[in-house]
Structure formats: C-alpha cells, structure tokens
C-alpha cells in the first residue's frame, strides 16, 4: 500500500539523500586516505581498493531491491551458515598450525568473523521480534540469545582475534539490553562481569597481555609494545589544526606507523588533514550512526527496529574502538575503521549494513499502516 501524495522519485526515494551523502563522503575520504597511505601510488593496492568500493556500492544499492522479509525468514539459516564457516576456519587454522581468519574461495577470500557480526544481529533481531512483553520479562528466555552471542565470540577469540570477539560480545549484549532484558539482572550481570575481568587475564595470550600492559603505560617502553600507540599519538598530534597537507604526513611516509593503511588509517589521515578534517570524519560517523537509529525509530515493527539499532551499535562500536585505540584511550586491538580501512571484508560488511537500512526503510513505507 502506498502513501498518497508521495513525491515521485527516480529509483530511490529522497529520504535516502542524507544516507547517500554521508556514505559518499566517507568513500571519497576512504579512497583519498588509501591513496595517501600508499604513498600516492594509484597502481596496485589503491586500484584494488577502488574496485572494492565500487563493488560495495553495487551491493548496497542492490540490497534495496531485495524483499526485506527475506532477512527475517532466513536470519537463522544465515547465522548457521556463518557459524559453520567460522568452525571450518578454526579447523583449517588448527590443521595449518597458525592463525587463520579467512576462507579462500579463489576469486576472493572472505572472513567469516566479519559476516558473523551481521549474522548475529539478524539472528537476535529475529529471535526477539516474536517474543511478547511477558516472555521478555522472563530471564530464561534470554538464555538462547546469550548462547547465540557467546558461541561465535569464543570461536573468534580462539582465532585469536580479541577485537572482533569483543565487538561481537558487546553488540550481542547491546541487543539483549535493547530487547527489554530486566534491568536489575542486567546491572548485576554487568557488575559481576567487571569483577571477574581480572580472572580473564589468565586466559589471554602473551602478546595480548603485553598490549594491555603497554596501554596502561605507553611511555615505559617506547620502542617495545607501546611503540605503535606512541607513534600514532605523535602522528595525530603533529597534525595541528589544519594538518600537514595531503600526502605530506612525515610520520606515515617515513614508516614510523605500523599498519598505516588498515588499523591506523585514522592516524595517517589525521596527520595530513588536521583537527578540522579529523573532526569532520568523526562527525560523519556520528551522523551515520544517528541515521541508523533514526531508521530504527521510523519502523514500528520489532524486527527492523532491533536490526537497525544493532547495525547502528555495530558501526559505532567499530568507530569508537578504532579511533580510541589509535589515540591511546583503549588498548591496541585489531579493529578496522569502517569504510576507511584497507581490506574487503570490513568494507563489504558495512556496505551491506547500509543496504539493510535502506531495505528496512522501504519496507516500512510499503507497510505504513501496520
């Protein structure tokens, strides 16, 4: 059923304009950032990145035309499929005696842990969308979502990928909170969880312990484990208000920065575009998150409402943890910055997220009466 008086539009309704504008700005920033991080060389890696951006755009726009109901119907199937591929990656990893996080499909490699983020959100949204208020009040109905969250988190933690495992866990918790989990019990769980944290120390790998120690005092061993974060802070700090100028960041160009095109891309860019540019990037991410939440509030049905909130939390968690990490606010964990970091899996995941948002909004328009 269509709302009467709606403006005719070409392909996409005008309410997507803001989304398109934000994503477009971020993608341009992404391309320029990578171009600079690769020392101003277009051939090879940057070309590949541009290809991924285009593929991502096509996927995002294509998602708009997929019936939204499919996501609700196939949420569990999608979750099961992703979970199985996670297990496969774990087994392959243990056979090859080393960390492996991706599956090689010859024409491209994909990282199930990235896909798991979406699968988890879909599955949880699907689960809670059919529960009634009374059922949600019952703590026992929250056990299976907790298992749905914990299983992939533990698998990813074993890979070992502390960052992604943490994101999965936090997004899952956020969804459980949003669904209406009794606040008292939630509070108690959080407090006991925090109290148990010191015991988790024993389960961490040596290199992870080193990172956390160096985070607590980065200057203690500037050429050791805290080196990266200190160099990153120097790079950001030397950017000043207006930056050193495009392609002129000395920290990144002289290879003081590690991973300057993946996890530390924000540093690379902040050094060159300064406070004003970096502020703009953070603002774009903030605006995109708020757009996701707005999309949630627009849809009255529980499934899209939970889904949009989940995606918004996923996006913001990535942004916050990554940027906080390069500024030394949180310990160094390997989390890519959405849209900007080099690497296909992460980019495609967030392009799909945007596509899901569009899909949810258009579904709401078609079923406005409900």
């Amino acid at each position: 059923m269509k709302i009467s008086g709606q403006k005719s539009h070409f392909l996409f309704p005008s309410e997507f304009n803001i989304l398109f504008f934000i994503v477009f700005c971020l993608l341009i920033a992404s391309f320029l950032g990578q171009y600079s991080a690769f020392n101003g060389e277009f051939d090879g890696f940057v070309q590949k990145h541009l290809m991924r951006i285009i593929v991502g755009l096509v996927i995002m726009l294509g998602m708009y035309f997929i019936n939204f109901k499919i996501w609700s119907n196939f949420a569990y199937v999608f979750y099961a499929f992703t979970f199985v591929s996670l297990v496969i990656v774990d087994i392959l990893g243990s056979i090859k005696l080393g960390a492996q996080r991706w599956i090689d499909l010859h024409f491209f490699t994909f990282q199930p842990s990235e896909l798991m983020k979406l699968a988890l959100i879909l599955a949880l949204a699907r689960y809670y969308s059919v529960l009634s208020l009374l059922e949600i009040r019952e703590p026992k109905n929250h056990i299976s979502p907790l298992i749905l969250t914990l299983l992939p988190s533990i698998l990813v933690l074993k890979q070992p990928d502390l960052g992604t495992a943490g994101i999965l866990f936090c997004v899952g918790l956020g969804m459980i909170f949003l669904s209406g989990f009794p606040l008292k019990i939630f509070g108690i769980l959080i407090v006991t969880g925090l109290l148990l944290c010191p015991f988790g120390w024993f389960f961490l790998y040596d290199y992870q312990k080193k990172r956390i120690l160096s985070f607590l005092d980065p200057n203690s061993d500037p050429l050791g484990a805290g080196y990266h974060v200190l160099q990153s802070k120097i790079a950001i700090g030397s950017g000043h208000l207006f930056g050193r100028g495009f392609l002129r960041g000395s920290q990144s160009k002289l290879n003081f920065l590690p991973e300057k095109n993946t996890d530390f891309i924000f540093t690379t860019m902040a050094e060159e575009i300064g406070f004003l540019g970096a502020f703009l990037i953070i603002f774009l991410f903030f605006a995109l998150t708020i757009y996701f939440f707005w999309a949630a509030s627009e849809s009255r049905r529980p499934f899209p409402w939970l889904l949009c909130h989940g995606l918004g939390m996923l996006l913001f968690l990535h942004v916050f943890v990554n940027i906080a990490m390069v500024m030394g606010i949180v310990p160094a964990v390997g989390i890519p910055l959405p849209f900007l970091s080099y690497g296909g899996s992460s980019l495609i995941t967030f392009m799909i997220s945007c596509g899901l948002i569009m899909s949810a909004l258009s579904y709401r328009r078609q079923h406005a009466d409900v």
């Binding site: 009634s132 950017g239 970096a278 953070i282 918004g312 916050f320």
Partner: protein, 582 residues
C-alpha cells in the same frame, strides 16, 4: 494492546540510553582529538621532528654443532643480500638504472626484481638480490650512498656438513614466524636445544634524516652468539652405519657406548637433505620429500614405533626367572604350536623345537616356550618388568617428540576398545607382537641396561650433559642366565651364521610380523612377499664379551628375518667399533 504499548515505551527509553552513550563516547573522542591536535600539538610536533630514531634487530650467529671427533656438522655462514625499502615507481626506476650500472643486471634479473616488488607486502622492504658475491658486495657498498633506499643486509644461513647422515639427529632449521625471522630449530637437536644454540638478539639504533635515510648510529647493543654444542656422536661411525643401512630400503641403527652412557651413532634411512629443507626449498622439492613412500622425514630410531618382536623375549625371560615361574633348568616342550581360545598359535618353526630350557628357548627364539611362560606370568607382571627396562616411556634422549611406545594392559584395552583382555593376547605380547610397540632406541637402551647392570642407564647425545642419576643394580641371578643365553644366540643360535666372532657378541634377533601369516605361507622365504608385507628385521647386541662396551641395535624395515638380514649388518658395525677400539 496496553502491554505492547508499555513495551514500546520501555524500548524507546532503552534506545535513548544507547543514543546517550553514543553521544558521550563521541564527545570523548572529540575531546581527546582536540587535546592531541590542538592543546598539546606543540609537544607532539616536537616529538615528530625528533622522531628520527629507528630500531633494527641485529641477529646473533647460531651456535655450531660438533661431533665427538671434531667435525663441524652444523654451522652458520654469512650471506649478503640487497634490500630495498618500499618506494614509488619513479624512485624504483632510478634505483634500478643505478643498480644496473653497478652490477650489470641481466634482463632476467630485472624481471625478478620487478616481480619481487609486486609480491612484497605494502610498505615492507623486500629483497632485491640474494646471495651476493664478495665482489658484488664490495662494489655496491662503495656506491651505496647514491641510492636513496637501498641497504645491504648480512644474514646467516645454516649449513650442514653431512646432511643425509645426520638429518634426523640434528634436524633442520627455519625462520621464526615473527618479524625478526631469526634461525630457529624445527626438529632434532636443533629444536631440542634451540635455546642454547640461538643466542641473544642485538639492537641497532640509528638516526635517520627527513628522507628516512640513515645518518648515524646512536646506540648498538651487540648480539650474543649462540653456544656451540658438542655431540657424543662420532661422524665416522655415523657415516659408516648410515652407508651400511642405506643398502636396504629403509631402516635404522643405534650405537651406544655403555661405559660412558653415550650415543655413538643414530642413523635413520632414508635421510633427507637438511640443507635443502632448512634453506630455500621449492614446493615441488618439498612435495617430493614429504610424499615419498618411504617417509624420509620420520626418525625411525626414536620416533617411529614397531612391534619389537623376539627382542622382547629377553624381558619376558627375565621376568619369568625373577618371578620364579620357571627355574633356569626347567624345560618346556615345543611341538610347533599351542592351542588357546580355540585358535592354534604356531611357533615360527612349525616342526617344533622339542624340549628347551630358558637358554635354549632364547637362542632358538622358540615361540611356544614364551607363549607358555607369558601365560604363567600374566600381562601385569610382563608390563611391570618391561617398564623397568624402559619400555612404554621416553628414554630421555635429547630429541623432541620422542615416542613412548605402547605397553598394552587390561585397562588400556578396555579404555581403547571397550572389550576385555583375552588370554591369547598375553601370549602374543610374550613374543613381542600384538599391540606392543617400542622404538629402536628403547630396545637398544634395554640392552644397555642389561650390560651396564643398571636399571637407570640412560644414554645421552650431548657431551657436557651431565645427568645426575643413581645406580640401580639389576637382580644378578636371572641376569646371569639371560647373559649366558644371549651369548649362545650368537654362538650357535639364530645369529650364529653372522655373529660368531673372536671378540664375542651377545645379542638377540627379532623378526616382527606386520600381518597374520596364513598356514600355506608358513616357512616361505620372505623375499617372495611384497616389500610391505615382509617382517621387520631386528638385531640388538652387545660386544665384546669379556668387557661389554658397545650396544648396537639394527632395524631393517620389512627386511625379513632378523638373523638373516639385521644380524650381519650389526656384525659389520661391531667389527668397525672393535677396529676403532684397538
């Protein structure tokens, strides 16, 4: 309807909490960004300008491995290579033309360099030319200042002098997985004593100019080279042993000096080229080694396990004498087979050995005799004595992943198969077959324990490895009988054709079956079977008779009879050892 509205309201509040959190966290990010880029920016700019110190690791030289006769079997040698930092196309081309003038590169070289650049990880330096000759090294280091981002690097590679002979004992090395890529032992002594061999990594702190070029060295922490390791193995004996075994398809040999408690030789055939595996190996070369039907990568002396066969009868005879289930003079009649659990278990000699005492049974390796005393002993008592002689546990040799072997017991069988232990299984274990498994080294150590008269005898391969151990003497009465019997084996028993010598060898042959033998195949010459179906040939012996010193254990995989195949080889090794002693 009311309930759903209430839940809607509740959820809206929760969503607002989330949005509130997002705003707070964003604010934190922006405040921190402001602090870094505006408030403290002067401080960080200064640090950035000063940011000229680079730290690079300086690798130590890995320790050598030297045999007891002074031959350096593993050493680290220098190699020079040319490294290029990641750079853009323009600089790359400039460098290449300059390099061409210096080195006179061929077209193929240029292609290789371009290829290496493509394959290099983003922003990582890559190797332009490996294995620089001294002349090349000299000419480039003269002109190095002209290049903007080339550097010369000295690395160490491992060189093995006797790669095949020592392949399993010394093992191979590879680069460590971290970014430093230091030489690290992967197998054998290289892995077991990696900590001693590897040394300590040094540091070179250099100052670079604004272009990232090194200006001067600010600090240098010298690396500490690894320690040399001296083996007890003798390169000549090792080579001799390896060459002899190599005449067969696959096998192994262990030579012990029981006076000093040292391993003189430990060879496993076929060996593999450790030089190839440790350094650059192509995937097809690796595949040909890894997929070889004879499994050259396996150490047949200490890691591969076999049923010990008749060699194990020594332990069973000793147990029977100690426990008093049989006296040295008691005789048991062998008719050529024993019936148990509705099955007939044949002696290897289907015509029977007649009436034999312990000495006779060991010299002729009579199966029926041992079926009977194993039945009398029971599996628990056999295992008890086997453990004393070192079966079922590691001998403690300086090799990683040494096998334990397997001593089957009732509880083991129940846990493994969930079925109960059958009486006939005790009998089969009594002749060293069935589920029983041991390494060749374990059988050699058993022999060493007997002739060193010490349950705690454990050999070592490392010279300065002083193992504190106590003497734990073996019960002399049964031991005398066993020694007498082992002497008889070589005088007129199963090994008499090859081991009857003037200096006197004592030993035991063994032929361990790898399958069940059908009635019609009894007594057929082993050479007529497929290689894979033939028995494993064992011989474990000690010499000379009046002052036991050397233990030799020989295994020929699928060799056939122990007396016919393994014993002559052991004889040759003994001859060589006696010649050396004189």
């Amino acid at each position: 309807m009311l309930a759903s509205e209430k839940s809607q309201k509740d959820r809206k509040i929760r969503a607002k909490i989330i949005i509130f959190l997002v705003i707070v966290l964003s604010a934190i990010l922006l405040i921190e960004l402001y602090m870094l880029q505006v408030h403290f920016s002067e401080k960080y700019s200064l640090m950035s300008d000063k940011n000229r110190i680079r730290l690079s690791p300086v690798l130590p030289k890995r320790g050598r491995i030297i045999t007891s006769d002074g031959k350096i079997v593993a050493s680290s040698v220098h190699r020079y290579r040319l490294i290029m930092d990641y750079c853009n196309d323009k600089i790359f081309k400039e460098n290449l033309t300059l390099l061409d003038r210096c080195l006179k590169l061929s077209e193929h070289d240029k292609q290789c360099i371009a290829e290496a650049r493509k394959k290099a990880r983003p922003h990582m330096s890559f190797v332009i030319k490996d294995k620089l000759s001294w002349d090349e090294y000299a000419s480039i280091s003269m002109d190095l200042f002209k290049f903007s981002n080339l550097s010369l690097e000295t690395i160490y590679v491992r060189n093995y002098d006797m790669p095949l002979e020592f392949s399993h004992v010394i093992g191979h090395t590879g680069r460590s997985d971290d970014s430093i890529q230091i030489l690290t032992g992967k197998t054998g002594i290289e892995a077991f004593l990696n900590g001693r061999l590897i040394g300590t990594i040094g540091n070179l702190q250099t100052e670079v100019n604004a272009l990232g070029k090194k200006v001067r060295v600010t600090n240098f922490v010298e690396p500490k080279n690894g320690k040399d390791i001296k083996l007890t193995l003798d390169s000549k004996i090792q080579k001799y042993v390896y060459d002899i075994i190599s005449e067969e398809k696959a096998g192994a040999c262990v030579v012990l000096d029981i006076l000093k408690g040292e391993v003189l030789a430990m060879a496993s055939v076929p060996g593999f080229d450790v030089n190839l595996v440790s350094n650059k190996i192509t995937s097809s070369q690796w595949k040909s080694i890894a997929n070889d039907q004879l499994f050259p990568l396996i150490n047949r002396a200490a890691i591969c396990v076999y049923p010990p066969g008749s060699v194990f009868k020594i332990v069973v005879a000793f147990a029977a004498l100690s426990e008093g289930v049989i006296a040295p003079g008691d005789r048991i009649f062998c008719s050529g087979g024993v019936k148990q659990d509705d099955r007939v278990f044949h002696c290897w000699n289907r015509n029977g050995h007649g009436s034999l005492d312990v000495c006779g049974a060991l010299s002729w390796s009579c199966d029926c005799f041992f079926f009977e005393i194993a039945r009398r002993l029971g599996i628990e008592r056999i295992v008890k004595y086997a453990k004393k002689f070192g079966f079922g546990s590691q001998t403690g040799i300086e090799l990683p992943n040494e096998s334990y072997g397997l001593l089957p017991t009732k509880s083991w069988k129940f846990l493994r198969y969930g079925t109960s232990w059958k009486p006939y299984e005790t009998m089969i274990v009594g002749i060293g077959q069935g589920a029983l498994l041991s390494t060749l080294l374990q059988t050699a150590v058993m022999m060493g324990k007997i002739y060193a008269n010490d349950y705690n005898f454990t050999p070592t391969m490392i010279r300065d490895n002083v193992k504190a151990r106590t003497w734990h003497p073996i019960d002399p009465k049964p031991l005398e009988t066993i020694k007498k019997a082992l002497c008889q084996v070589c005088l007129y028993g199963t090994a008499s054709r090859s081991c009857n010598t003037h200096y006197g060898i004592s030993g035991k042959t063994g032929s361990s079956q790898v399958r069940k033998i059908k009635t019609e195949e009894a007594g057929v010459n082993q050479k007529k079977f497929d290689w894979k179906l033939r028995d494993h040939a064992f011989f474990v012996g000690c010499a000379p008779h009046n002052a036991p010193r050397y233990v030799v254990a020989v295994l020929i995989e699928h060799g056939g009879g122990g007396g016919a195949v393994a014993a002559p080889i052991a004889r040759k090794v003994f001859d060589k050892l006696m010649e050396k002693q004189r």
